[in-house]
């Protein structure tokens, strides 16, 4: 087996995380170090449980992959042959162990719909697109949410607070589809400043050499500045949509946490030392309030992925979400199973990392 592109993508996206782990490992106390090791070790059974659940749930949902592939007119013999080819005729536990060993070898089987196309190849095209969407969205949502939440807390029971709280409820309750459509119609069609759908201008796309399939990185690598600008331009609406879905949660959470920290003794103590109010709020209160927010980031990551599924569909963004939706429609068992596995594993990894960040940030945590 050649080294798959997915491996590259996995490693590059996990690279940042690993760098952080390394940094935390080297900088942290002995307790933190052993916590990191423990937490990493604990992630393994967690992932195993997740993939096991996915495997068995996939077996019980209705819909037959063989029929959807061969069509209703195929003979029983052909169906049987196909089942054999896909390994669906084997006992379920054999299939289960094949699936597990496949995950370990980064071999997720081949797509049912697209013949012998390895799913790893398909995912390695899709995952970077999703990363390119969710990383800026998460950054934007967290950044905006935390700042706005802190601002609201600082001006508690004044009009910015009421406005932001109202805003957070409104954006949180708006369906992604609708929000995306509003953006497409207003900012896209109405004002004509942003493209409706896609990842990059189709004409510029022709000149862009893709390596990682994260277009911003690709255009930076090749020094293709028009492509970089275009990729950023196309990123605006989907990012805004996805970020707005999350920002409400972060506003509310940061607000309540900052309000709670603002009544702590050390805040009064800092004020009594004449520390600038801005520093009191944005350093002392916010840094402490952020600690629980970090945990929430881990929890919200799955919401982010769910939002990404819808955003990708709304903006024809060829990422994991769109892939999942398409393949569910096509009853592409192996593809759906693999995509969900990737989703679940990334949630597990992110929650591991946020736990470690939490431990890293809060010196009081006992491991």
């Amino acid at each position: 087996m050649t080294v798959s592109p997915l491996a590259g993508v996995c490693f590059s996206s996990l690279g940042v995380a690993l760098l952080f782990l390394l940094y935390a490992f080297l900088r942290g106390s002995k307790g933190l170090r052993s916590y990191i090791v423990t937490r990493v070790l604990l992630t393994l059974p967690m992932v195993l449980i997740l993939v096991t659940i996915i495997f068995f749930v996939m077996r019980v949902i209705p819909g037959d992959p063989v029929t959807s592939e061969l069509g209703p007119r195929a003979s029983e013999a052909v169906r049987e042959q196909m089942r054999e080819q896909l390994g669906l005729n084997q006992p379920i536990w054999v299939q289960y162990f094949q699936y597990l060993s496949g995950i370990v070898r980064l071999d997720l089987g081949t797509s049912l719909i697209f013949g012998n196309r390895p799913i790893v190849d398909e995912l390695s095209e899709r995952l970077p697109a999703t990363l390119e969407l969710i990383i800026p969205s998460a950054a934007l949502a967290i950044g905006l949410g935390v700042l706005a939440g802190t601002f609201a807390a600082e001006h508690r029971k004044q009009w910015p607070d009421y406005l932001l709280r109202l805003f957070s409820v409104v954006v949180y309750s708006i369906p992604v589809f609708w929000l995306g459509l509003i953006f497409q119609v207003t900012l896209g069609l109405g004002l004509g400043i942003f493209p409706i759908a896609g990842r990059i201008d189709p004409i510029i796309d022709i000149s862009l050499q893709r390596h990682t399939n994260i277009l911003i990185i690709d255009s930076l690598i090749s020094g293709n500045w028009p492509a970089l600008l275009s990729a950023l331009h196309y990123l605006v609406l989907p990012t805004l949509t996805l970020a707005l879905i999350l920002v409400g949660v972060f506003i509310r959470l940061s607000r309540i946490n900052v309000i709670e920290t603002l009544v702590q003794d050390y805040i009064t103590a800092a004020r009594a030392r004449g520390i600038l109010e801005r520093v009191v709020v944005y350093r002392h209160a916010l840094s402490n309030a952020l600690i629980p927010v970090v945990t929430l980031i881990g929890l919200q990551f799955s919401v982010l992925l769910a939002g990404a599924v819808l955003t990708e569909t709304t903006f024809s963004w060829p990422g994991m979400g769109q892939y999942l939706v398409q393949r569910i429609g096509q009853r592409d068992y192996t593809a759906v199973q693999s995509a969900i596995t990737v989703f679940a594993m990334s949630v597990a990894v992110i929650s591991m990392i946020t736990d470690i960040i939490y431990a890293f940030l809060d010196p009081r945590v006992q491991y």
Partner: protein
């Protein structure tokens, strides 16, 4: 007028907003703290002593506010300062130590970061290195080894944390330290160590210290002068000897008798009737009158002034003041 007062509050009132309306937490209180003395401010919980301490630093925040009064600090009325000027005053001229040193230090900031931040906020010209050196010097003076500077608050013992709080209050050579229940969370031996340190600092640095506490024994041990608050008002103020030996206000009298004394032979404590009033709807006039054994008709009608009874010894009680004429005739019938 030349005086050796470091701070003098005049007719200070603080109100805070509750669902039931505005409540006076501190009502028309005046006091002064002199250079080189420890003023003990005592009273039961809810009497407004902590609010008063914060009011002196203008640390009162929404939904509470200072509604009246002046705070003279070395000739400047703090009430006339802008927020930013007042902020610069805090830390630089007035330091504060809080009840729980664990929660008064930022849990995710190292000790040294607290100190450097405080120094550099007020003296931006000081380099990080110099601030660090000053921090090390400071904690060393307070009996903490400099290698604890990089610790987080939770890694220190209670006594050490409280010393760190003092070092923060002293980082800029403040003239006044307000210690708000600073020993309450400490064990008795550590508490004794801590007040010894405070006394020593007060002497050595010629500080003024306002010690707010409910521990009357502690005040008797360390304070030069004592102020007693009841239900948001000043009841009595005088030198420690005067107040403890000859308490004037009936509340002070009762309070002192109710304090356990390990050295006295008596085996029963004085029991004061009733409990402190609810500040939302306090009794009219003298707020102590419903519990007072010397209650007179005037006590429920007119609030006595807080005025000198003997020398430096002031109290707010009709027993020591001329009762207005219309209430005088019934004085004979009082319990006194």
């Amino acid at each position: 007028m030349p005086d050796d007062n470091v701070i003098r509050a005049e007719n200070l009132s603080v109100q805070y907003k509750t669902r039931a309306g505005w409540v006076s937490a501190v009502d028309d209180v005046s006091l002064e703290i002199r250079r080189g003395e420890i003023l003990g401010l005592v009273g039961e919980s809810g009497c407004g002593k902590s609010t008063l301490g914060k009011a002196l630093m203008r640390l009162i925040r929404h939904p509470a506010r200072i509604t009246n009064g002046h705070i003279w600090f070395q000739g400047i009325d703090l009430m006339t300062l802008s927020d930013n000027e007042m902020r610069q005053f805090r830390g630089r001229n007035i330091g504060m130590i809080f009840q729980d040193p664990m929660t008064s230090l930022n849990p995710i900031q190292r000790v040294v970061e607290h100190l450097i931040e405080t120094i550099r906020t007020h003296e931006p010209a000081v380099s990080d290195e110099d601030a660090h050196a000053r921090a090390a010097d400071l904690v060393d003076r307070l009996g903490i080894s400099a290698n604890r500077l990089d610790d987080y608050p939770h890694q220190l013992s209670g006594g050490m944390r409280q010393r760190v709080m003092i070092s923060l209050a002293l980082a800029l050579n403040a003239d006044l330290i307000i210690a708000d229940e600073a020993t309450t969370s400490l064990d008795v031996i550590v508490e004794a160590q801590f007040v010894e340190l405070l006394q020593q600092l007060c002497r050595d640095l010629d500080l003024a210290i306002l010690m707010i506490t409910h521990n009357i024994g502690l005040v008797a041990e360390v304070a030069d002068r004592v102020a007693v608050m009841y239900a948001g008002r000043m009841a009595e103020m005088g030198s420690a000897c005067d107040v403890f030996k000859e308490p004037l206000h009936p509340y002070t009298q009762g309070l002192l008798k109710a304090v356990p004394n390990i050295h006295l032979e008596e085996d029963e404590l004085y029991k004061m009737e009733g409990s402190p009033p609810d500040l939302v709807s306090p009794p009219p006039a003298c707020r102590f009158h419903p519990r007072c054994p010397h209650m007179m008709p005037v006590c429920s009608k007119v609030q006595p002034d807080f005025e000198t009874a003997r020398g430096d010894h002031r109290t707010a009680c009709w027993l020591y003041q001329d009762v207005p004429a219309e209430y005088q005739d019934v004085r004979e019938g009082s319990k006194a």
